[in-house]
Assembly symmetry: C2
């Protein structure tokens, strides 16, 4: 529902951009032949095209070196027809993924993977937060769930999920506890949460008897077999609101990627317009 | 004690750098005439000189514009004799402080104030974390205080203190709760902490009856009259370890700034040496 609402709101914006001579374009880079990665990239590309966003799909062989990948990214950074760049994670092990991510220019980092973008997001003025955290915050806002002063417990601390969602919730004035594999007494900590974010990558990990009556549970897990990180049935009994898997956070994540691409195209158009004003003065 | 140990370890490194023809240099920028800022900058400059680090002190008038400040920073970025740049906070209100911080090149951000550096630190591969958080982690390590699996509660969420110290503790495998002015039942949360970091800027704010018996308390507060954020006497009774104010975290913070400047000079020397090897091949 939230995903469709976001996508619908983008249609008109894409039309307006096209009228102004700009067709938003997302470049996706897939390195190697991992079948799930190929599926994800395809889904994202198709979602673009459905909205009238150009999907520029780059598929590099598994033997691609870090230098070759950086060269491809740099080319896309310099291509003024490209508004967003998505490098599908994971890349083959011999490639320096962090260096590749950090080569994406901040203006085109619509997937929110650069450390610069992460820093900006965490300090409160980021433009494109990582898409899954952005999706979680969008769901929370769309359902009018109060965050300020609430205790949010995030289980997981990955660079594109646990850490940035903790940062976003903190910036919304939640008290935030970030947990992970070294956390002691995890159930006791989760039990304190008004808002639980599961981002741990373990199927059915969060149990109903860990969560507080009336808590809000957001499941960002997506494990093989379409299984979330939350044991849905037992948690559903306790929660005042809960996202399912599949559905839930996943589709909104893709909608965020599309939204950021459109945002980026609009920003480009606006800065072009401002440059023209300066030149004509 | 920790501060002196760090400083002593730097003396030999500074000597070696000088023998190799590099004298480490920290540039400090003070904008305007705030007396405490002037005192802080002077203290830092004097600490440099005591160790044989060049202190390049730039004092700009309170009327300096953002553009003028950015130009000064860019000049220092390009000056190969400068290894670190410190912009004293706060700058006058009409100046865009965030833009100024983010103009400092990542290689010279020895005070750890850029959003890029923050992102790198939080994602686990930062070179120069913000100095007070770095000091807190150094104290913890010097005293052999276990962090992994411990519950750390950070009270405060400023960009150069609460947020980065939360990130550093998380990367050391603590479970981290970040609290702030909107936190409900703060004493109950602090009571769960094995490690308490006070970074809130309110004199004597954390009380003895808030803290758990045996907890470790790090007071990063520094309020007018040399008063910390922790009510020392009552917390001392409960804590297994506690830092005083004055003393404690403050002097180690300055030692971190010096260490980062020396680190930066060594990195410059090393990359010069590597370039020479490449050129001679």
């Amino acid at each position: 529902m939230v995903a469709n609402k976001v996508k619908n709101s983008l249609k008109e914006r894409v039309e307006k951009l096209k009228e102004a001579g700009v067709t938003p374009c997302l470049a996706t880079i897939l390195v190697g032949d991992d079948p799930s990665s190929a599926t994800y990239v395809k889904m994202k590309g198709n979602a673009c095209e459905k909205l009238g966003i150009v999907s520029k799909r780059i598929h590099l062989p598994a033997t691609t070196t870090t230098e070759e990948l950086l060269a491809t990214i740099t080319e896309l950074n310099n291509d003024e027809n490209v508004n967003g760049i998505l490098l599908q994670h994971p890349v083959p092990e011999h490639v320096d993924e962090r260096k590749a991510f950090d080569t994406i220019s901040i203006e085109k980092d619509v997937d929110g993977v650069t450390s610069f973008g992460y820093g900006q997001t965490a300090l409160g003025f980021g433009v494109f937060p990582s898409c899954t955290p952005a999706a979680i915050l969008t769901i929370i806002k769309e359902y009018g769930i109060p965050v300020q002063g609430k205790h949010a417990v995030v289980v997981g601390r990955s660079p594109i999920l646990g850490k940035p969602v903790s940062a976003l919730l903190l910036n919304e004035n939640a008290t935030v506890t970030t947990c992970h594999s070294y956390t002691n007494n995890l159930p006791d900590i989760v039990k304190q949460a008004d808002i639980v974010v599961a981002a741990v990558g373990k199927p059915n990990f969060i149990k109903g008897d860990w969560v507080k009556e009336g808590s809000v549970i957001l499941d960002a897990g997506y494990n093989p077999g379409n299984i979330g990180d939350v044991e849905y049935d037992s948690c559903f009994e306790k929660a005042s609101a809960i996202t399912p898997v599949p559905g839930g956070v996943g589709p909104v994540t893709i909608a965020m990627l599309l939204k950021h691409t459109v945002d980026s195209a609009e920003r480009t158009l606006q800065s072009k317009a401002e440059n023209e004003v300066v030149q004509s003065n």
